[in-house]
Symmetry: C3
Subunit: 137 residues, 3 copies
Amino acid sequence: MACLQKSFTVRTESHQQVVDISAQVAAVVAEAGITTGLCLVFVPHATAAITVNENADPNIGVDFLRALKKMVIEHDDWLHDRVDNNAAAHIKAALIGPSETLPISNGRLALGTWQDIFVCEFDGPRTRREVSVTVWG
Amino acid sequence: MACLQKSFTVRTESHQQVVDISAQVAAVVAEAGITTGLCLVFVPHATAAITVNENADPNIGVDFLRALKKMVIEHDDWLHDRVDNNAAAHIKAALIGPSETLPISNGRLALGTWQDIFVCEFDGPRTRREVSVTVWG
Amino acid sequence: MACLQKSFTVRTESHQQVVDISAQVAAVVAEAGITTGLCLVFVPHATAAITVNENADPNIGVDFLRALKKMVIEHDDWLHDRVDNNAAAHIKAALIGPSETLPISNGRLALGTWQDIFVCEFDGPRTRREVSVTVWG
């Protein structure tokens, strides 16, 4: 088994935003040089998340964030808003989750044609969102 | 470490549906012949997802799809509907996620008594939904 | 590669509750004695789930459970309520998912400063919720 773990950072520009990190993750997979295995993509943050969906139409990310805003209303008497005023961001991050695990086949991420990897920013803008990629196989 | 990666396809019959794939995933785990390890179940699609829940009462799947329809309203002025008219399916797929990772113990998936593995179809019917299973340990 | 799989149980006190299991998971990682790798945290239950978020303010868990109650209304004519009267718990468990996979770096879980690991109880109280931890690297 080979195992490679690398991190990179992402800058976000808006309060809520999805950022396509597919190319950065693919570069770590290529560097690992393994044929068959898995890839864990993880954010060490409690107000950001990782998900996978289509970026060929970037409006899917816009729709996704709008849907989450309807599910989790901002400042809806959340108790944590008294401390940090960002409770909705924490709730969304817990709902989507901080990681995705993806298969590697033939030395590449075995994503579908319409799948891209997103960091979901729920409490930006932030200068440094860290993404940890662990590849093994 | 042994690692086995196999795919199979699922046909869906309805616009929205959960399909129990527990037996097909268990067959890949049995073929791998490993004692302790992990199993990644992944769909390479942006309008389908993987989740785990009870199928002893198949109405749980029906309730789950109905709950998602209430959370993500179809054709609610989503921007992606102008392109493909299936934005709600993409949003649900991003919310549930394309994979689950499950433990293997004593040569078998260590699922609970009331846990089955589902492909969630959000934009069917489709003749071929692919499921990728990676087992290692 | 080293692989260690261990289980522990959690008692829940309320109908819906998040329980911080970060210390128990960290103890399994420490026992495994690996430097770089991954950790799968899994509940073999269909009315409980695993998520990751901040516990420095325990009200985040309270807010998270309240948000889920708004998304998935209890006894909203769910079909499974006719069998077991706990359909909302199943729906929430399917939505959040039974597992999280986390990176290990420098012999420790590479969680962020504001990340803790939670078991989400949606149908308690229960005397025994099992948590399975698989570490490899």
